[in-house]
Amino acid sequence: MEENKIDRRSFIKLGTIGLAATTVGVAWTSGQSDKQNELNARSEPEAESPHRWAMVIDQAKCVGCEQCVLACKAQNDIAPDMAWSKVTLVEPVGQQEVYLPVQCMHCEDAPCVDICPVGASYYRPDGIVMMDYDRCIGCRYCEIACPYGARSFNWQKFEGENPVVPAWGQPEVPRRPRGVVEKCTFCAQRIDRGLEFGLIPGVDQAATPACVVACPQKARTFGDLNDPNSSVSKLLANHASYQLREDLGTGPRIYYLPAVSPHHIEEDQA
């Protein structure tokens, strides 16, 4: 019995040492790579950026023409069977047909960033949720986790001409390879290039997301929430707005002005 005890104790001791060694070994081999540091830096939401981009969509103005969808598909060179921005018809409210444009919400607390096993979904310092197409392994966990159905997988390679180019714009970003997930980037390429040239995203068209520029109804507004004078800040300060699935706590950065709200009624009467 005595022997038995000692035996078991030494087993556990050995085992603990083994486990600790494994853990240390793994941490040592992969913990300190440059890529790892880069990833750590990425995971800090809004680390250092004066901007916090957001979009406001006025459902009273949206007529469901889908020009935003076409402009998005052209400038981001998206395959015909995929879409980053979608417009769905929701039930008519009163006399009016109400549409709901949906795309990546660039959540403040994004489930996709939390659960991507390789950190291919990440926050830019300005809050935009980005995809690293070179890192994505195509497991599609983010598609499963996104509450907004905002992500599309490249089931096949997009070859041939883009039918909406050049009618709706010129591609500004490279096509994504087969086997990775993609989604709206708030046209980060336009924002970045615009800022370099001293333009103001949301004010200057060249620095503003394609869908916002394309909307003939001016239903979409883009801008910086950190700037109290930006049009998005003003709209949100003066109008009732909502976000999709606020109950989830994801903090979406796309705000909707409902189709029927007091300010529209006032405007109609005036």
Partner: protein
């Protein structure tokens, strides 16, 4: 030499292996098509991006759970008599995990980047945890299987030096058992948490899923180990199988099924009374919708209740056919659970409409290519186990000293640990 080879032809084992090779060949062809043409040849969509392969992957990991359980029982609880059963479990486990890895490799969009999982870390992701644990545990299993290969006849005959070195890894068995236990507990439940942490999917979003994945893996993994041992004992007269050893495990499975059923009951009640958009719809899909036959039949009645009764009654358990049927039922119950869980969360699609969050439905049936790849991977597993039984003697209870002659009063005979 030739005559020895020829004697193999025409025997049942020959046809069995030939059948498996044909299925594997079909799987290889289908797999190549997937690699060349991409996942567009599957029936997966952006609404249902996880299908048949994920279910096979989850099932084969869960059914490999016998390895860590028996290693823990033998080396940590000191139930030494189970050592030959553990040998089977460890080998089956290694094959099961390799099946899961193959499945994942087919399923991810960029199989060329599979190594990203180990290099780029996102510690917040349950899948990161699963990747790490599966990677490490695969190593543990390989080390645990090493002595079996080392002491095999072909190894000893040709490279006895290397064989003996491989055999000596057996000294590490207790350490490996502890590592295996920790890693398995972590990733078996993390696989449930992979679904359980998703707030976007109300039916999955619950802590119980992690626990249920663990509990079902315990019953399923042990059942597969016992079943394979029993089948081996029946098909070959050369293989010695000690029914009393297997009976110990089966009885444990019976009691584990009671615990598992209890957990399932309260999980069921939890889903019934939450009235959450999306969760209620998914729940109804399971209990009275398109998945209800699978749920009530496959998971609950045939998957838990019937085998529980058989395995807990020593009279019914003695009937070899019933006993094996019970084990098959537990295994298919686990597969049904994984399939249903994966599917039901995706079949209910939540959308935001004017009146709020609204549920609609979608469906998925695997394509022929998905089925062929899946069948090929399963056939590979069956072939590896068959060859392991035949050439590595992974089912062999002959080394154990005979029990005290059929006296049921002495099952808990404390073995001496002094010698090892």
């Amino acid at each position: 030499m030739n005559s020895k080879r020829l004697s193999f032809i025409g025997q049942p084992i020959f046809w069995w292996i030939l059948l498996l090779l044909v299925v594997i060949a079909a799987g290889l062809v289908a797999g190549s098509i997937v690699l060349v043409k991409g996942l567009s040849v599957t029936n997966l969509t952006d609404l249902v991006p996880w299908g048949l392969w994920i279910s096979i992957d989850l099932s084969s990991i869960a059914l490999s759970a016998g390895a860590f359980l028996l290693s823990a029982a033998i080396y940590l609880l000191g139930i030494k008599k189970l050592e030959p059963v553990g040998r089977t479990a460890v080998y089956v486990g290694l094959i099961g995990y390799s099946m899961a890895c193959l499945c994942l490799l087919m399923d991810i969009g960029r199989p060329d980047r599979f190594w990203h999982g180990f290099v780029y870390w996102n510690v917040h992701s349950p899948l990161w945890e699963v990747t790490m644990c599966v990677g490490l545990y695969f190593t543990v299993l390989a080390l645990e299987v090493m002595p079996i290969i080392g002491q095999s006849e072909p190894m000893q005959a040709r490279w006895s030096g290397l064989g003996n070195r491989m055999k000596s890894i057996h000294k590490l068995a207790p350490v490996l058992a502890i590592a295996g236990l920790s890693l398995s507990i972590m990733h078996q439940s993390s696989l449930g948490a992979t679904y359980g942490v998703l707030k976007a999917r109300p039916f999955w979003y619950k802590p119980s899923l992690a626990v249920l994945f663990m509990a079902s893996a315990i019953v399923g993994g042990l059942s597969l180990t016992v079943l394979i041992s029993k089948i081996a004992g029946h098909v070959s007269k050369k293989i010695t199988v000690r029914d009393d050893l297997l009976d110990t495990v089966s009885k444990f499975i019976g009691w584990a099924l009671v615990v598992y059923l209890y957990m399932r009951f309260w999980d069921f009640m939890g889903a019934e009374y939450t009235y959450l958009p999306g969760r209620t719809e998914a729940f109804h899909m399971l209990v009275r919708g398109p998945l209800s036959l699978n749920f009530w039949g496959g998971e609950i009645i045939l998957g838990i209740l019937v085998p529980m009764v058989i395995l807990l009654s020593s009279r019914l358990r003695k009937d070899e056919r019933l006993h094996m049927l019970a084990l098959v039922l537990v295994i298919s119950g686990l597969i049904a659970f994984r399939w249903n869980t994966n599917m039901v969360g995706q079949f209910v699609v939540l959308a935001d409409l004017a009146q709020g969050t609204t549920a609609s439905y979608t469906t998925y049936v695997p394509s022929l290519i998905e089925i062929l790849v899946g069948a090929g991977i399963i056939a590979y597993g069956a072939l590896a186990v068959t060859l392991g039984i035949r050439y590595l003697h992974v089912v062999d209870h002959s080394g154990v000293e005979e029990p005290v002659p059929q006296d049921k009063v002495l099952p808990v005979q404390q073995p001496s640990l002094a010698g090892d």
